[in-house]
Symmetry: C2
Subunit: 357 residues, 2 copies
């Protein structure tokens, strides 16, 4: 029996709907396993801008630091996307949260539930058995370097930057994880062109000497984008920089059938943050059709990684598996064979998961 304080940070768009379901699952786990989970909520993103003018109010940041883990939704709003000159943006809140909490390692496990083999646009015989764990660096790269305009605004620039220690710490986390898996690590860069990538490769090569039991390969990001689709089973642990990781993990979501299934853990120096990799999806917001399984699986990661509750985490994953085995789907993971009465909305599929807990 443990006492834990969890901060719920729904953010924007479907973040609200799916995080509410993720929270219910945490609550049920507490009851079932006799833990005491307390909750609070905080604002981030567009909703925070609307309420306070700030995409990450100090109050939210304080609450994050004071909590044992954060269950996060998504940020973003089309209003800013279509206005390239907007000065205040929802994403600034997300990036500030990552930086301030020192969340330098973003873990994105890509694993297909067998029942969803048919939901992917990739052939089942290519997918079957694919199981990849991405380590995306999350507090460096072009995301956090200086950026701006010059020549009267006619030229824009962004500085990508990495320091040795930043590469080293994420590489080490990835090697440690590879040890507990199939002992293969693929480091992805663009060292034939980019200097930060050359530093990246240099450091990974050096860290590799401490893990002689792990087989290492270095791939260029362009080749990796191709290989992920051509032969996803060749990958075990993949470690890469912030921008490449952003692109490759979204791509890899297709290996798991749908983005709506993918959870992620952002960890580092303090409180861990757990979130679906899908975004705010304003096109389906408020319709009650968003897939909450990624938020539920993020809750499972939270239990495992931040609280060390393996059994609790597995209980959640098993419940999701049972719901899929029973044939229930949300719209995004349904296929031509799914009967209409098995296609559930956000809350209804959440209820099914709760029933199986």
């Amino acid at each position: 029996m443990a006492k834990k304080h969890i901060l719920i940070v729904p953010g924007d768009g479907i973040g609200q709907e799916v995080t509410a379901v993720g929270k219910k699952v945490l609550d049920k786990i507490a009851t079932k396993f006799g833990h005491e989970f307390t909750y609070d909520e905080a604002l981030i993103g567009h909703v925070a801008i609307e309420a306070t003018g700030n995409p990450l109010p100090d109050e939210s940041l304080e609450k994050m630091k004071a909590s044992d883990a954060v269950l996060f939704g998504a940020v973003g709003h089309p209003k800013y996307d279509n206005d390239p000159s907007a000065k205040v943006r929802p994403e600034q809140g997300l990036l500030k949260m990552r930086k301030e909490l020192g969340l330098y390692a973003n873990l994105r496990p890509i694993k297909l539930f067998d029942e969803l083999l048919g939901a992917s646009s990739i052939k089942p015989e290519i997918l079957k058995g694919a199981d990849i764990l991405f380590f995306r660096e999350l507090t460096g790269d072009i995301y956090f370097g200086e950026k701006g305009r010059k020549n009267n605004g006619d030229t824009a620039y962004d500085i990508a930057e990495y320091s040795r220690f930043e590469v080293e710490r994420i590489a080490r986390k990835a090697f440690e994880a590879a040890r507990t898996r199939r002992k293969k690590l693929c480091s992805v860069d663009k060292a034939n062109v980019i200097e930060t990538s050359r530093l990246w490769r240099e450091v990974v090569q050096k860290v590799a000497t401490e893990y002689p039991d792990v087989e290492v390969e270095h791939q260029f990001v362009d080749a990796t984008a191709m290989l992920l689709i051509k032969d996803p089973r060749r990958f075990d642990v993949v470690v890469t920089a912030n921008l490449f990781g952003d692109i490759l993990t979204d791509e890899a979501s297709q290996i798991a059938g749908s983005m709506g299934m993918l959870a992620s853990a952002s960890i580092g120096d303090g409180t861990g943050v757990y979130e679906p990799i899908h975004g705010s999806a304003h096109d389906i917001t408020g319709k009650g059709v968003a897939n909450p399984l990624a938020s539920i699986l993020s809750a499972a990661l939270l239990l495992d990684i931040s609280f060390g509750m393996k059994a609790e985490s597995e209980a959640v994953i098993n419940a999701v598996d049972k719901v899929l085995k029973a044939g229930f789907r949300t719209r995004d993971i349904a296929d031509a064979q799914t009967p209409a009465d098995k296609i559930l909305g956000t809350d209804a599929i959440g209820e099914e998961v709760l029933k199986n807990l």
Copy 2:
């Protein structure tokens, strides 16, 4: 009947083998259509470094500028890839060629030959009818900005940069092409985080007002990497920055069944350069198994774009189509159903194409 001077620049690895086949096809076209094509050769990449110490010798550059078109192979060598501190690299030759020839627009058509529907790891029903034309900006972005080290080499940096006119000219080329196709343009950026992307979006939005007949959408690069696999048919023309284009077009090669099928045209202020999108592939170099069809299709693009020879270009594409219809394959595009005697090497499949011309 036209007189044209073509420079053959094989470069490294399989570049040598496939370009030789591409040249034979050009030669056959000249005979068949009564043109006079003259040829010269020039060095670039690792082979140029070995011979002269310089990845793009002045002599090569002069020959390029003096020719009517360049048929190019690939550059790269594992020796440099695994030595992040190498000062002279094959890729510098490629980048210098692009910059010096003002090749700001890289066209990469992604279209599946019907016979190859089975060769992709993506389901045929998702692929059928997919037809995308990428415009990748080729002389700006993080490829060409200042890069280096600081803090005693412990920090690496790369500057990404775009100026308004650079975005404008590639956007305009992409809009013009969209007009001759399905009138849809997707501009890809990461405007929610990157300043160069915000300038990109701003400029594309502005250019779009001149093309009210073209339907425009803006997508983030991460979402695009996902959508390309999930639903490739939603795309017509895609325009994007240098680095994003590098990643997305390699990924999109899976839509065409294999990287070995994809040709590209780099055009701009002067001589055009035509090349496969596959790289030097040292793992299969010298084995006679490389797929020369991308080089042959690059020759087709050369005839069409640099020489305005539509009939000649179509003759090449039809010949490739016939060879595929006859069941011939190289290893990379063969599948479980391909009989062993239909799997041909580089020269043999080249001969089949020549026979069908």
